[in-house]
Symmetry: C3
Subunit: 134 residues, 3 copies
């Protein structure tokens, strides 16, 4: 397992982690197989979505905030129940296809850490599995 | 990696891809392992849900539309921010168990491509990993 | 593939399955690899979230109930379309990293079966893949 360290800058944020993940896959030497990406945090999720227009990320974070707002009516006293709920909605982990020594993604796709209770220092855990022969 | 090609017929649709996925697993010769299924599109998601009563699919698509409607208040100018958001909610990828040379699914389960911005020609990317000996 | 049997006690419930999953990984002898966890039911989902304050679970289930209520306006006649929708939102499967012979989880993380149409006897299907040498 490899650990990727990231820093988020606001309470809610989508951070593109595609490039460091591709670098980890290259260093692993895996040619064909799978990449598992996992958040060890209960208020940081992971997703794949559009990497072209930054407005998509604003719309995503804004609409998630409207669907699951911070609210004093939650019983959990740390004022971040909304963050926990959003993580279970977008998901705490991803499995991506590795072929030709690289994560396979569509033209407009990037891999994103979704921060829901930042800003914080965070870890992303990564495991590669597969064959090394090309 | 193998590519499955599908065609969707409406803006929002659930397309059962269980049979072609099972065929791909058979052709791979994998007896025991995992199947990773990935959408290379930012407005097409993947899920597993009921394959018996088609009304479940209508209820799912209808309720997702109510939770995340198309809206002029989104900033992304392609009028499909709702589609991007729905993909991150249902998920862009799946990992399924392969045993005895077949994807293992419950009695009422099917694997579905969830189209949120169709109709379009789409690809589904598939990777098998595991052992070939029975 | 291994089958884990659980019993849920209410219509909606989060059941911590971390300990039995860790036991299955130990018994498998896998030192480094992946664990795939899959729900064979269309009204039972899987997630990873906070295992410290039980109020988080109450807030999660309560807010999901508010976002996707049981409703006579659904067309599916079994009165559980809400349950099907919730499963596709939280997800029907998980892939987790195995290292040093154990599932790798953050300090506050537990693996949860999310029952949305209980109480019932349920199965959780589990597959390990990886290397046995430490």
């Amino acid at each position: 397992m490899t650990v990727l360290e990231i820093v988020t800058r606001s309470r809610e944020e989508m951070l593109d982690i595609t490039a460091p993940l591709q670098a980890l896959v290259r260093e692993s030497g895996i040619q064909s197989g799978l990449l598992a990406v996992q958040s060890p945090h209960t208020t940081l999720g992971l997703t794949v979505n559009e990497n072209a227009d930054p407005d998509v990320q604003k719309d995503m974070l804004g609409h998630l905030r409207a669907l699951v707002p911070q609210s004093p009516s939650f019983q959990h006293r740390e004022d971040n129940s909304d963050s926990h709920i959003k993580v279970s909605l977008v998901g705490p982990s991803l499995t991506l296809i590795v072929e030709n020594g690289a994560i396979q993604l569509g033209t407009w796709q990037g891999v994103y850490a979704m921060e829901f209770d930042g800003p914080r220092r965070r870890e992303i855990w990564v495991q590669t599995i597969g064959t090394r022969t090309p």
